[in-house]
């Protein structure tokens, strides 16, 4: 979806402000949110792209006004309610009013460290890769109303395949519970001028990682 989360190339947000000696968490609740998200992910409650999509669907002013972990918490509440894991009445009262929905598994302390390893997104290829390094491609000009990982600034642009990363679960379908739909994944490199016009820094090259359905031969 064409939301405010898709920030690449927007102006007006100001300078980057590094924080010297930044703590891992700025408040204890941030760690709780992160760990709850990890636990629910381990339990198989919803895929990571459903978390991203829930954040993207926040109202723009809510998205921009919230901190990173606040967005996570808001997205988690949304997924819990939409998927029937908890009711809005329970979240507002702060207590379970009904019993829980069955989940595939539960993250217990003995498994916590094991769950820190990221899962693999590799999937069995259904077809051979359509592109190889050096191939010229044009990204599609698509504007799906749902989750996609093709950023606006790189749509309809001419690029070159640089890396082939194998076949991966496809976020666009994962986010809306339509399955893995495995797709080949490529690093596609663009010249700065192709994305930002003739005044772009001539030394600039930008790449995205693009799933095969985002690409046409060029």
């Amino acid at each position: 979806m064409d939301g405010v989360h898709d920030m690449g190339g927007m102006d007006g947000f100001g300078k980057v402000q590094p924080e010297p000696n930044e703590p891992v968490f700025h408040a204890p609740w941030e760690g709780r949110v992160l760990a709850m998200q990890r636990s629910m992910g381990y339990a198989g409650a919803w895929p990571i792209d459903a978390s991203r999509f829930a954040q993207e669907r926040l109202a723009p002013q809510a998205y921009l006004g919230a901190s990173y972990y606040q967005r996570w918490a808001l997205a988690m509440e949304r997924n819990l309610i939409e998927r029937g894991y908890a009711g809005a009445d329970e979240l507002s009262s702060g207590h379970a009013l009904r019993s829980g929905k069955p989940l595939a598994r539960k993250l217990t302390p003995d498994l916590a460290t094991q769950a820190m390893t990221r899962g693999s997104f590799y999937r069995q290829a259904q077809t051979p890769a359509r592109f190889k390094p050096g191939d010229r491609v044009r990204t599609k000009n698509i504007h799906p109303p749902t989750h996609t990982r093709l950023p606006r600034y790189a749509r309809g642009r001419l690029g070159v395949i640089e890396l082939v990363h194998g076949c991966h679960a496809f976020p666009d379908t994962m986010a809306v519970d339509k399955g893995d739909s495995p797709q080949w994944l490529y690093t596609v490199m663009f010249e700065g001028k192709e994305l930002w016009g003739p005044d772009a820094d001539p030394t600039l090259k930008i790449s995205i990682d693009a799933f095969e359905p985002y690409l046409d031969p060029a």
């Binding site: 989360h5 920030m7 690449g8 190339g9 102006d11 947000f13 980057v16 402000q17 590094p18 924080e19 930044e22 968490f25 408040a27 204890p28 609740w29 760690g31 709780r32 949110v33 992160l34 760990a35 990890r38 636990s39 629910m40 339990a43 991203r52 921009l64 990173y68 918490a73 819990l80 329970e90 979240l91 507002s92 009262s93 702060g94 379970a96 019993s99 539960k106 993250l107 217990t108 498994l111 460290t113 769950a115 390893t117 990221r118 693999s120 590799y122 990982r149 890396l163 990363h165 991966h168 994944l185 994305l195 930002w196 772009a200 600039l204 090259k205 930008i206 995205i208 990682d209 799933f211």
Partner: protein
């Protein structure tokens, strides 16, 4: 949970704090989560998983040409072979800085970051200024970090739009010939592995 008992009355944060506490209580009562497992995850990110892992990887690559080749060929496999406590997931890609090319990593769509080797991302990495500008004005972003590169250096920005995770392999500072891996690792900053910084000069490390 002692972590919850910080006093932040009257601030906007206290509303968030209460809301997060409610969330945790509901999920616990429903049987979905175990607060003790949450404690361990938080503890791991606070004490075990951080940029020191990435720094060891970079230092080894500087020290051992065969490891460097393996790292650039398959980042996940090479780092896993080191047997670090934070086990590295798939899809780690190391990208090498050279005199001709400087790499910078961003995630414009959310905040994808190589947690396995760098820990949790800093706030600036997740902020709108960085996410919006890194792909369009990377030299301006570098200036915000006090980094100025020659005008002829190619700036290569990697937007992490999938589950691939990028680790920048910075250039080894000159004047470090004969240094051990442990000593080299002290030069490697987190920002140098994101591409918004450079390794420390050797004179800063005893």
């Amino acid at each position: 949970m002692a972590q919850h008992d910080h006093d932040e009355h009257g601030s906007e944060l206290s509303e968030t704090q209460l809301r997060v506490r409610a969330l945790e209580t509901v999920l616990t009562e429903k049987g979905y989560i175990d607060p003790a497992a949450l404690d361990l995850i938080i503890q791991a990110y606070e004490t075990k998983i951080g940029p020191h892992t990435g720094a060891r990887v970079v230092a080894k690559a500087w020290h051992d040409p065969a490891f460097k080749r393996a790292l650039l060929d398959d980042g996940s496999k090479a780092v896993r072979a080191l047997g670090h406590e934070s086990r590295v997931g798939d899809h780690l890609v190391a990208v090498e800085n050279t005199p001709a090319r400087h790499n910078i990593v961003v995630c414009t769509l959310c905040s994808c970051y190589p947690w396995d080797v760098l820990g949790l991302p800093p706030v600036w990495y997740k902020s709108a200024p960085y996410r919006s500008r890194a792909v369009k004005d990377p030299r301006g972003v570098l200036a915000d970090f006090g980094v100025k590169l020659p005008a002829s250096t190619e700036i290569r920005v990697w937007d992490s739009t999938a589950e691939t995770r990028f680790l920048v392999l910075p250039m080894r500072p000159s004047g470090t010939e004969g240094w051990s891996e442990e000593r080299l690792a002290q030069l490697v900053t987190r920002d140098a592995m994101i591409g918004t910084g450079l390794p420390k000069p050797p004179e800063e490390v005893a």
